[in-house]
């Protein structure tokens, strides 16, 4: 993290060379700032798990009524989420459903899909939770 003055001077010269002559001091300052920030954030060697899977577990329960599965699956389909597994049970008046879905191909991220599901859950008066698969893997598998 500790950039020495020499480092900063080097970055400044590199930036000036890249931008060429005739740019204003402000532009150079902005660019140098950005580069320093980049340099700083790369200073730790953190192995990043870019391979994180897009598998999400959807859990839904509430009082049974027609149209729950339809509403959920329609929204998932519209968002290009792939349903990989599905298990559904009725316990008394109670509806429960657990799905494993893959959101890799979806244009939306998990947060947006969660928001969509909240919109579905409210009028149907059910609960829908979406959690990344890793939580379950860490808790229940060694």
């Amino acid at each position: 993290m500790n950039l020495t003055e020499n480092d900063i001077r080097r970055i400044a010269f590199e930036t000036i060379n890249e931008l060429g002559a005739g740019v204003s001091a402000d532009v150079i300052r902005e660019n140098v700032k950005k580069k320093i920030e980049n340099e700083s954030s790369n200073s730790f060697n953190i192995p990043s798990s870019k391979t994180i899977s897009g598998r999400v577990i959807l859990t839904s329960f509430g009082l049974n009524k027609p149209g729950i599965v339809a509403a959920i699956t329609k929204s998932l389909g519209d968002n290009n989420c792939d349903i990989m597994d599905l298990s559904q049970k009725i316990m008394g008046d109670f509806f429960t459903m657990i799905m494993i879905i893959d959101i890799t191909a979806s244009a939306k991220d998990l947060k947006e899909i969660q928001d969509d599901m909240h919109k579905i859950a409210e009028p149907l008066n059910i609960k829908i939770y979406l959690q990344h698969e890793d939580v379950f893997r860490f808790m229940h598998r060694i």
Binding site: M1, I46, S48, T59, S87, K111, H132, F136
Partner: protein
């Protein structure tokens, strides 16, 4: 399906019903390179550094929260014990530093920043004396800054001069924050054997052997353990220990996952997961309720210490298996004000200060968030700190005293802070004097067990 129906429902139940959450993700930031002989330059360096590393801390944690569906109750920052890099400053300058910490904390959107600290178990430098003097002023003039001072260790013994100074600092802090029930004292911890990677504020600081920046996690699941014990029903204690272990194992795994993800998102190394059972004033999120579910009628009944010892030990064993980065305190916290069950036990007269002291010998920290009458003399507070430290150094464990001599309050009154700090009934303190003993000053030598080499 890869997972059983019941496994998935168990996780949902823990996170949605039983208050399982990540209690804190604490970003530790070293300030050792922020010293300058000009105080203004120093302040700017501190501010810039905290912002550089911490500016996205809250947002990153929130993203991980929604991704995994596990809530993270607190996002916090700890810094290098302030007395170490800034040893050359005086009282006024230390207060200035506290204010800049407060400002930086506000800017990055966190509720507490910890590390206005000193490590004086063996002796004090001039700077450390100044810092201790500055504590009451710093805590009364800031909102978010927390302070801790380590005054004893197994290797060094108990620095009684520092104990006396801290007792005075506690009294002074109580007085300076009297209009808010002496809330300053809730942000001030006196330690024996302090750990350097504790993520739990108020006692957190970024130890001198820690890296430039690190992310530590504290998990919390008293509610989950309570439900598991209730569900287990009438089993013998060995089986009960097994139930506790299995539960802690699962929540530790989740804690480590969340910690690593938040660290990764911040682009900083992951440090440790502290598996302490930390209660909150929320109903059902109580250590006292766990002890009662184990079988004692109320906290304070004979058997309480044994039950707590077993709970604490089971927590550690399960955590060690679940994660290779277990650190911090990792046991059971027994604060009074933050635990509804404890509050009720004190009010019913079942739990006394002396019983609590005995319990601290087997739990992870010490006398925590205990309100006592405002007219308790400093020498008595020094005596309490010395007792607690003695338990720590002889048993080679961390102990802490976070005690509130609530200004103007007496036995039967309450202090109420709201939020996570909760409320506490004023507890009875023996009025017989410790003055001649603590007044001797000097240092209680390191115990036998320090000679392990």
């Amino acid at each position: 399906m890869n997972y059983e129906f019941t496994e998935i429902l168990e996780t949902i139940r823990m996170t949605e019903i039983e208050h399982f959450d990540i209690r804190t993700v604490t970003l530790g930031i070293s300030l050792r390179d922020c010293h300058d002989r000009n105080i203004e330059v120093t302040k700017q360096k501190i501010y810039d550094k905290i912002l550089r590393y911490g500016k996205n801390h809250v947002r990153n944690a929130q993203e991980i929260e929604s991704q995994f569906g596990i809530s993270i109750a607190n996002k916090r920052v700890s810094v290098t014990p302030i007395s170490i890099p800034f040893d050359s400053f005086n009282v006024e300058e230390y207060v200035e530093i506290a204010k800049v910490l407060d400002k930086a904390a506000e800017e990055i959107g966190i509720d507490y920043i910890a590390g206005f600290s000193a490590l004086v178990q063996k002796g004090m430098t001039n700077g450390e004396r100044e810092l201790i003097k500055a504590i009451p002023l710093a805590l009364s003039q800031t909102k978010r800054v927390c302070s801790s001072v380590n005054i004893a260790s197994t290797k060094a013994g108990i620095n009684m001069d520092a104990v006396n100074l801290m007792a005075d600092a506690i009294k002074k802090t109580a007085e300076l924050t009297k209009e808010r029930d002496s809330i300053g004292c809730a942000k001030l911890v006196v330690f024996a054997n302090a750990v350097e990677d504790n993520p739990f504020v108020a006692g957190a600081f970024h130890g001198v052997t820690e890296p430039e920046v690190v992310l530590n996690v504290g998990i919390s699941g008293p509610g989950v353990v309570l439900e598991a014990i209730k569900e287990a029903g009438k089993v013998d204690l060995q089986q009960l220990a097994e139930v506790i272990k299995k539960t802690i194992f699962k929540i530790t795994r989740a804690g480590e996952l969340i910690g690593r993800k938040v660290a990764e998102k911040n682009g900083v190394p992951f440090g440790i997961v502290d598996i302490s059972l930390a209660p909150t004033p929320a109903e059902g999120d109580s250590i006292a309720d766990i002890l009662k579910a184990m079988g004692v009628e109320d906290v304070g009944a004979p058997g309480t210490t044994a039950a707590l010892a077993m709970l604490n030990d089971s927590v550690k064993k399960a955590g060690l298996m679940a994660s290779s980065s277990v650190g911090g305190m990792s046991g059971a916290f027994i604060p009074v004000s933050e635990d509804m069950g404890m509050i009720r036990a004190v009010q019913a007269g079942n739990l006394t200060l002396e019983k609590l002291e005995a319990m601290t010998a087997v739990c992870s920290v010490g006398l925590d968030m205990i309100a006592i009458p405002g007219d308790t003399p400093a020498s008595t507070i020094a005596g309490i700190i010395a007792d607690e430290s003695a338990i720590g150094i002889i048993n080679d464990k961390t102990t802490a005293v976070r005690i509130i001599p609530a200004y103007g309050k007496k036995l039967g009154d309450m202090v109420d802070y709201g939020g996570l700090l909760g409320k506490a009934p004023i507890m009875e303190v023996k009025t017989i004097s410790s003055e001649s003993f603590v007044g001797r000053g000097g240092r209680i030598p390191a115990p036998m067990r320090s000679l392990t080499n």
